[in-house]
């Protein structure tokens, strides 16, 4: 195998697993799809413009619910613009019959009837030749159905991305920490802490539901910075007192969670302006959710840091062999401090995004998230023993987890089973990684 391909496989082997999963879920969710909205309008309109075309007589049948009326009005507008004569029947088949009677009274033949899957199937239309001979034999036009996987619908894909954004963003920091051969268990609690802090700042200092954008921004930045400080504190304990990261961050996990409950007094804080959801639910650019955009930008930056910058090299070096790194002049303590601070900051950001998505801050947020985040990192091929791993691998790992969850939702697997499957997938991913390593080591000295 060529070294380049080999490296790609070894760095991003998980990407193939992700693609396989996508193919799998696409296959099993392949279903009959009906166009809706504008697509449906355009399709039906262009069909009718072709025949009967200009001057033709068309009846549009729609039920009285919003979706149908919007469709009917849009179609009417388009067809009228194209010079067709349009009559709209809204309501029950009974209402359609009345309209038909009126049309029959004019004694002009009806060229076509447009409707959706439901209205086009009304019996009243198929009975026209017998009931209303005056109307002739109108063609019944409805949006054409097609087969497409539910999984691959763009809304679903964006939904996956949006759901995983928080986990993926925090996983950036976690990847750095794990690459230094550490671990950060506190991130889940920091999500809650950050969400509660941001919500409280907005409620108490920025004017609650009338808060300005500036006020909200400052509140969020403050929450994120405080979480960064918590991370830096963990890093300090780890480097200065050489307490194992597992213990320090476990402690901070409890402290963070407790603080979140204290600050929120055990309640959700929802006195937040509606505009706050911009970050979590908005989609200003090409329909891509803002959180997903932010995630992509952060991954780009993190990838550059890890692969191009001295800092990234130092992170790998510290995790690969702390002593060798120190003896090569790497400022080991500063590097570790950075990793934990970054992890805290990103957890804070994740908390703010979550608060924005849910338009409230609650101490229950982020429960167990640290484990999903670690899973994303590990599934992405980063070794828990440190020194190796790729930032983009983590992104792939996060998406793998998201795709599995989403796929199980789409295929109606009950939620209890999700955890079982997810657990097994993580195990298999790590197993593959271990086997890959063993193959390396076999060539190595036995001393």
């Amino acid at each position: 195998m060529k070294p380049a391909l080999q490296r790609l496989l070894s760095d991003y082997g998980m990407i193939f697993v992700l693609l396989l999963l996508c193919v799998f879920f696409s296959t099993v969710t392949l279903t009959e799809q009906t166009p809706t909205g504008e697509t449906a309008v355009h399709q039906v309109a262009s069909d009718l413009v072709r025949a009967p075309g200009k001057g033709g007589q068309v009846l549009i049948a729609a039920r009285s619910q919003a979706e149908d009326t919007v469709f009917a009005r849009a179609l009417e507008q388009e067809l009228t613009a194209a010079g067709l004569q349009v009559t709209v029947a809204i309501g029950e088949p009974r209402d359609a019959r009345e309209v038909l009677q009126k049309l029959a009274a004019t004694n002009k033949p009806l060229d076509a009837i447009a409707g959706n899957q439901v209205t086009a199937a009304w019996l009243v239309f198929s009975d026209i030749p017998t009931d209303f001979p005056a109307l002739g034999h109108p063609r019944i036009v409805k949006p054409r159905t097609y087969r497409w996987p539910n999984f691959l619908k763009s809304e679903n894909l964006l939904n996956i991305a949006n759901q995983i954004a928080v986990i993926a963003i925090i996983a950036i920091g976690m990847t750095m920490v794990i690459i230094t051969a550490g671990i950060d268990l506190s991130v889940g609690s920091l999500i809650a802490l950050s969400a509660v802090l941001a919500a409280r700042f907005i409620r108490d200092y920025a004017g609650a539901t009338h808060a300005s954008t500036t006020g909200m921004t400052i509140a969020c930045l403050a929450a994120i910075l405080l979480c960064g400080l918590v991370g830096a504190f963990s890093g300090g304990m780890i480097t200065l007192f050489r307490i194992p990261p597992f213990i320090v961050t476990l402690a901070m996990m409890l402290v963070g969670s407790g603080l979140a409950y204290l600050l929120a007094q055990g309640q959700s804080i929802y006195q937040i302006p509606d505009s706050f959801v911009w970050l979590g639910r908005g989609a200003d650019f090409l329909h891509i959710p803002n959180a997903v955009l932010l995630m992509l930008v952060l991954y780009g930056l993190a990838h550059v840091v890890m692969s191009r910058m001295r800092l990234g090299r130092y992170l790998y070096a510290v995790g690969g062999n702390r002593e060798a790194a120190r003896l090569s002049g790497v400022p080991v303590r500063r590097v570790l401090l950075f990793a934990y601070a970054a992890s805290g900051l990103l957890a804070g950001l994740g908390g703010v995004i979550m608060a924005s998505q849910l338009k409230s801050g609650s101490p229950t947020y982020g429960n167990m998230y640290e484990l999903y985040i670690i899973a994303a990192v590990v599934v992405g091929g980063t070794s828990l023993s440190g020194g190796e791993g790729r930032m983009l691998g983590t992104l792939v790992g996060a998406f793998t987890i998201a795709v599995i969850q989403n796929g199980m939702n789409l295929t109606n697997v009950e939620s209890y089973t999700h955890k079982v499957v997810l657990g097994l997938v993580i195990l298999v991913a790590v197993l593959l990684d271990t086997l890959r390593h063993r193959r390396w080591r076999r060539g190595e000295a036995a001393d």
Binding site: Y314, A324, L327, G329, P331
Partner: protein
């Protein structure tokens, strides 16, 4: 070779009359030469009247043993200190061996034969028919009796000889024995398991027929013939045709000393199998005594990539003996002991305990065989109590519950046996080093270890504690436990050891009783190698002082160390492992915090607190352990190279990848680092290439002071030379170079000046390296 410096041979030989006609000597001397043994075999003509004086003389002259031929086989007994089992029963001795200061008579005439017999059948409870009642038959009968056969039927033409043998077997061995006077074809009775020809019928005449009814031989019977020439006698061919299992006489021939046969050895000796085998038999008998030794390691070979750690090492250990295992650092002692302890698997060679071949795959295998290894770093769990540690892994449980009371009693008993008082309930971390060592010894005794290996047991003990340890070792010796004692402290070895085995470069170079060695000889044996042209010559004018350290101090490891390194000078820092050499340079490099001391470069005092400071000041350190400290094995060599150089290979935090690649490519070329590409992981390189990558790291920084800690450890000869050349070149550029090395030839070959350390202090300086000797250095190092 040490042999060329030692003109004293170990002596063995033979006492007989008509000695001039006995060619044994030629065979054995050839075998000694072949095995490179510093031994002599001397053929001695002794009359019966002089026998007493001859034996006393042999004892006085330190003979390791001698063969006894006619007419002394019986008479010699009166002049010996004791008899082995078979010799005692037979009332005849064919060889005398020295055990301690006693001469013990043994009779091995039947042993070799028995050995080949045992390889096909377990003699216990078997019925045997034996033809003949002469010397050979007699010896075989006694060995068979000792091996536990049920019944021996002696078939002999002469009634008197036969009856004598049967009587001997009945009275001395309490065996079922009967005599059948042999006339006409003898029919082997049904129920016989083994048929043995102990007569000389068939010797040299392959067709000579034994008077035996061939049809009475049945398939499955073992038929043996002591005749070894030709090996396929008519008896054996007939027996094989009848479906019997044949055993030829070659096994017997490997055990020399039978006068009737030994005179034929000359025919076979030049290249034949017997002659050579005979030599081997002789050697092992005198060196290991007749009974199988407690431990016998033979031809142990162990290779690590790039290094052949052991190249066929032999080690023999008897019960109740303290064997000192000596050798320079890296001679292979630890590897050998790890093989004995099951931590490593030997590539080749055998380990036998009490004559039984063992296969140690894992530490518990060797433990089950009664081997306990007390490593320098104790194997104790610090948080568990002394008692819990003793029984760790061998807990006595009932229904899963530990029988604590029982364990406490056992532990108390063990400590009593060792004559020490240790709180059973104290966690081991609270015990002193000496106490922890005793817990280790108790742990060994708890599983009835018969062999205890102590690796540098005295290294961390005070002199008083060492005394105490010796008393305990002597106690163990009295209890029949054998101890392998590894130490660099020669004085201790003279105090405690009975015998010394010296390793050098993974091979045996000497095995002597302690009384035969002087301290000087010991050092010679350990060092022993001649300096060839391993080191490139160099002539650099040594300039003014560059690096100067004063009063370096850290705990007990480094005590008030001061020295200076001059421009263009290679200063060697030597001494034994643990003397504090590495610790000194780690202080200079800022890897450890120094308690006191001053470091100056070119007259400027350096404020070094971390390696980063030292690197910034222009100091580079090639660490002792490349894999643990020098390289990040899982990263590419390019990244390893770049690590200390990112300050100038990166701008605004961004690594200049192209610059890094080009810079490294230059070093790959000039240092001739053999790698397929720069992305190769460091772990996949050979030791030499790994060292070159580390060297490149520091060369790229253009350090003013370069410290090489064991720069050539585990590196092949070619790469060594290249590294020496580089060191010379750096010195020529005016750098100050410190080299730590345990390899004394390397120190002598490379250094301009040598500092020897011992116990954290500098104990000597050798400025005139050209006339220094390894002995001189060793003397300072073990001071």
């Amino acid at each position: 070779m040490a042999a060329s410096q030692n003109f004293l041979h170990a002596l063995v030989g033979s006492m007989s009359q008509g000695a001039a006609g006995n060619p044994t000597v030629a065979v054995i001397e050839a075998a000694f030469a072949h095995h490179d043994l510093h031994w002599r075999y001397i053929n001695m003509e002794v009359t019966p009247a002089d026998l007493s004086d001859a034996v006393r003389g042999a004892k006085a002259m330190g003979f390791r043993g001698f063969n006894c031929s006619l007419p002394h086989k019986v008479n010699v007994i009166a002049h010996l200190d004791g008899l082995g089992e078979s010799a005692g029963i037979m009332g005849a001795v064919n060889c005398v061996v020295r055990r301690g200061d006693q001469l013990i008579g043994e009779n091995t005439d039947g042993k070799g034969f028995l050995k080949s017999l045992v390889s096909v059948i377990d003699p216990r409870g078997k019925s045997v028919v034996l033809f003949g009642a002469g010397g050979a038959a007699r010896a075989i009968a006694v060995e068979l009796g000792l091996a536990g056969v049920k019944k021996i039927t002696v078939v002999n033409r002469g009634e008197e000889r036969g009856r004598e043998l049967v009587e001997l077997l009945r009275t001395k061995l309490k065996l079922e024995a009967e005599l059948v006077v042999w006339n006409g074809d003898y029919a082997v009775p049904a129920g016989t398991d083994v048929v043995i020809n102990g007569t000389s019928i068939g010797l040299y005449d392959g067709e000579a027929r034994l008077a035996i009814d061939v049809h009475s031989l049945h398939s499955g019977m073992v038929v043996a013939d002591v005749i070894f020439n030709p090996p396929r006698t008519r008896l054996l061919r007939d027996a094989e045709a009848r479906g019997c299992i044949p055993v030829d006489g070659l096994g017997d021939a490997r055990e020399p000393g039978h006068r009737g046969w030994s005179k034929f050895w000359d025919r076979a000796s030049p290249s034949g199998r017997r002659g050579h085998a005979g030599g081997l038999g002789k050697r092992s008998r005198f060196m290991t005594e007749a009974a199988p030794p407690l431990l016998e390691m033979r031809g142990i070979v162990k290779s690590f990539p790039g290094v052949r750690a052991l190249r066929g090492v032999d080690l023999t250990l008897h019960s109740g003996e303290v064997l000192a295992l000596l050798g320079e650092n890296g001679a292979g002692k630890s590897t050998l002991m790890k093989i004995l302890g099951g931590a490593f698997c030997a590539d080749a060679g055998s380990i036998a305990i009490s004559g039984r071949e063992m296969r140690f795959q894992a530490p518990h295998d060797s433990r089950a065989a009664g081997v306990a290894i007390i490593y320098q770093e104790f194997n104790l769990v610090p948080g568990l109590t002394a008692c819990e540690n003793i029984f760790l892994g061998q807990e006595r449980t009932r229904a899963g519950f530990i029988e604590r009371q029982h364990e406490r009693q056992r532990a108390a008993e063990l400590f009593r046996r060792l004559g020490v008082q240790i709180d059973l309930d104290a966690p081991c971390r609270r015990l002193t080093t000496a106490q922890q060592q005793l817990v280790e010894i108790a742990k060994a005794l708890a599983f009835d270890a018969r062999i205890i290996v102590m690796d540098e047991p005295s290294a961390a003990l005070t002199s008083h504690e060492v005394e105490r340890l010796f008393e305990i070792i002597r106690d163990l010796r009295r209890q029949g436990i054998a101890v392998i004692y590894i130490s660099h402290r020669l004085d201790e070895i003279f105090t405690i050891a009975d015998r010394v085995t010296v390793l050098r470069d993974g091979a045996n170079v000497g095995e002597r009783p302690i009384g035969e060695l002087t301290r000087q000889q010991m050092i010679e044996l350990m060092v022993g190698r001649e300096l060839k042209d391993e080191f490139p010559k160099r002539s650099v004018a040594v300039g003014p002082s560059r690096l100067k350290v004063t009063g370096l101090q850290r705990g007990r490891a480094v005590r008030d160390v001061s020295f200076e390194v001059r421009r263009g000078e290679i200063l060697a820092l030597t001494g034994l492992i643990g003397a504090g050499r590495t610790e000194v340079v780690r202080l200079i490099f800022g890897a450890d915090r120094r308690e006191a001391g001053d470091i100056q470069l070119d007259g400027q005092t350096l404020a070094i607190r971390t390696p980063r400071d030292a690197i910034a000041a222009g100091i580079g350190l090639l660490t002792e352990d490349r894999k643990l400290q020098g390289l990040i094995l899982g990263h590419s060599i390019r990244e390893n190279f770049g690590l200390p150089n990112l300050d100038w290979l990166a701008a605004d935090g961004f690594v200049n990848l192209r610059g890094e690649r080009e810079e490294f490519a230059r070093y790959v070329e000039t240092l001739r680092i053999k790698v397929p590409h720069q992305e190769q992981h460091a772990r996949n390189l050979s030791g030499g290439n790994q060292q070159k990558v580390v060297l490149a790291k520091w060369l790229a920084r253009d350090c003013e002071v370069l410290i090489f800690d064991e720069p050539t450890r585990g590196i092949d000869v070619g790469a060594k030379y290249e590294i020496y050349l580089l060191m010379n070149e750096l010195a020529a550029q005016g750098k100050a170079i410190i080299m730590i090395s345990s390899e004394m030839p390397e120190v002598l070959g490379m250094a301009d000046r040598i500092l020897v350390m011992h116990d954290g202090r500098i104990t000597g300086e050798i400025a005139d390296v050209a006339h220094a000797t390894q002995e001189q250095m060793m003397q300072l190092a073990v001071a």
